[in-house]
């Protein structure tokens, strides 16, 4: 296999590359037929001598994202040489098929690859059987809805929760827009559009020149959501996820992270159109539902790994957590400060605000409060609806975090 490119016309290389591409595609890499042709071209470019060069050639064409390198790497080694490893993989699969529930292998990339190489019956029947959905009126009748609207999510019956979810699905965030430096035609715009002016003047043969005008375009600001799923707020975060699902499918530029003891990006999972399927996918992706919480540590991970990638172009942050940090509050304050510097605006949603006599006493809450722009409740339909409507509009004193810091 080391001298791959020496027999380009044998036709075997073409077939092999094609099969290799199929394996990658099965493992989730976006490899189209055009890439296969490119790969073949590149492999036949005539100057490949070592295995390493062959590796980087295929890598340059078939890998388009950094995170795919891992999968590619394993697939390459399995496919293009080591017959022993293929055997091991077969054996691994065999064990998994015979045992009803095999324990998860350590490497997720390996697992995905294994599933792609051999059709695994286990993966196909993984979808849950959903019971027939009850017919419910999503719009809610007036009197019943008033009670439901103010009710705490945690105190709802299963039936009420389902109704609430339906109502949540209809909530949409008000658009908060920023001016860009691009322009669009507008009769009453402030700027003169010379290109259109001249083109229009030609219609009249240049006799009359009427000015065409334009105005700056606006665009939605990106929104990053950090949602706590630790034991103390997991009930609210489940409801909140339904809300987020609606938003993710409604607008561009949203990124959603869940955190308990570790940080998970679930944006892709939430993009699934069906809400139940999306939530199931999210649950599968997250390992620390209802566990402990390390707000400072996970915020740090966010700041170091993600902030520079997602907090660009004037992004806002929606932080949903109760702020009950069990670890170092100094670190929490440092990380909040850093977050403050890279985000345009931070809105803190705290389910603890459901208590009438809530006071900002906990050390974690006091550490975070100085860095947020708005402090809001998220425990009921009303609070979510309020959030959806007034986020971004100047709300004045109602959600000013300073209000909570003064009394203690």
């Amino acid at each position: 296999m080391t001298r791959v490119a020496d027999q380009p016309s044998s036709g075997k290389l073409a077939a092999n590359i094609m099969h290799f591409a199929r394996v990658l595609r099965g493992a989730g890499l976006p490899v189209g037929p055009a890439s296969v042709l490119d790969a073949l071209d590149a492999a036949q470019s005539g100057s490949l001598r070592t295995r390493e060069e062959f590796y980087w050639t295929l890598h340059a064409i078939l890998v388009k994202r950094r995170e795919h390198k891992e999968i590619f790497d394993q697939a390459f080694h399995v496919f293009w040489k080591k017959p022993k490893m293929l055997e091991q993989l077969m054996q691994l699969m065999f064990q998994q098929i015979t045992r009803s529930a095999g324990d998860t292998p350590k490497d997720p990339g390996f697992r995905r690859l294994a599933e792609a190489m051999f059709d695994n019956p286990e993966t196909q029947s993984r979808r849950q059987e959903k019971p027939e959905a009850l017919e419910l009126d999503a719009a809610l009748t007036a009197s019943a809805s008033d009670i439901l609207r103010a009710k705490d999510f945690e105190q709802m019956t299963l039936m009420e929760q389902m109704q609430a979810k339906k109502a949540i699905a209809l909530l949409r965030l008000q658009r908060r827009e920023t001016r860009t430096r691009r322009f669009q035609p507008n009769l009453a715009g402030d700027h003169i559009d010379m290109r259109r002016t001249l083109r229009q003047s030609l219609r009249s043969g240049g006799d009359m020149i009427s000015l065409a005008r334009r105005e700056p375009q606006t665009r939605e600001r990106p929104l990053v959501v950090l949602c706590d799923i630790s034991g103390s707020c997991s009930n609210y975060s489940r409801m909140f996820l339904h809300f987020l699902h609606g938003l993710v499918n409604d607008r561009h530029g949203m990124t959603v992270f869940l955190f308990g003891t570790r940080l998970t990006n679930v944006t892709r999972e939430l993009q699934h159109l069906d809400v139940d399927e999306a939530i199931a996918k999210v649950s599968a992706a997250v390992k620390d539902w209802s566990g402990g919480t390390r707000i400072g540590a996970t915020l740090k991970e966010f700041n170091y790994r993600w902030a520079r990638r997602v907090l660009t172009q004037g992004a806002d942050v929606l932080l949903m957590t109760d702020g009950l940090e069990r670890e170092d509050t100094v670190q929490l304050a440092t990380e909040m400060q850093r977050l403050r510097r890279s985000a345009k605006q931070i809105v803190w949603l705290n389910p603890l605000l459901r208590f009438d006599r809530f006071e900002a006493r906990a050390a974690g809450i006091r550490a975070m409060m100085p860095y947020v722009d708005e402090f809001r409740p998220v425990h009921s339909l009303d609070s979510l609806a309020d959030l959806a409507q007034t986020l971004g509009a100047r709300t004045g004193a109602a959600h000013d975090p300073r209000k909570w810091m003064g009394g203690v």
Binding site: D38, I61, L198, R199, G206
Partner: protein, 309 residues
Amino acid sequence: MSAVPKSIDETAALLKANGYVAGRDLATVVFLALKMRRPLFLEGEAGVGKTEIAKVLAEGLGRRLIRLQCYEGLDISSAVYEWNYAAQMIEIRLAEASGELDRKRMGQDIFAERFLIKRALLQALEAPDGIAPVLLIDEIDRTDEAFEAYLLELLSDYQVTIPELGTVKAAEPPIVVITSNRTREVHDALKRRCLYHWVGYPDAKRELEIVKTKRPEAPAALAKEVVAFVQSLRGGDLFKAPGVAETLDWVSALHELDSVTLDPQTVNDTLGVLLKYQDDIVRMEGSEAKRILDQIKDEIRTAATTRVS
């Protein structure tokens, strides 16, 4: 103009001859990009030498470098072309004055190539004397999706469509290098048209080679210590790890200060060259810098003694 290299070895030699120390992986990708006439998409942290590749290619191949720095709101009139409105107005007035107003001809006259102001991307399609330039589209992640989408036509067919004039196609396709710092994910449709490569931090051996190539005046012992220090910083817990560019800056700074070897005081005084975030500097100052310094000096000493014995 020198010819395009014919093998990976030649590519590596070409890069090296122009002061760029590339690994086998990067040389392979650059060779393929030249051979297959595909744009090269380089992604990586700031300061690892992505932009430098385009410069070195232009120099090594004796071609003109056209650079387009991307920013938010970059639009066609500043990146591709613009009509010279003032000249067009004068043309209309002149035609009026001489009384020869023919609408159809006027349309052709007004939107003719002589009224076109060519910007970077359109210039890149020109190949005077058959020598196509190197086009560097720098930090594409800073611009928006709309501009990315506009690039698709240019990158796949090397042509630009101007509604009033028609399609301008490159006689000789330019060598295109696109860089991204990954402050956001660039769309797959654009990446699909390119050869992708992630440029990472170099290992100690290659970084030392880079320092020796780019800063030959610095003492060898100093270079070795600097590289070891920077390498151990990258492994640590920093908000922004220093890139190769910072290493080179630091070597220059230390050399300017006439240091022959690293000592805690100089490190503290010059940390600002290496680290660009206040938190990082505070963390490294004092004892932490000294600890790392002692550690790398130990390592260098052990490496030296084992070689002797």
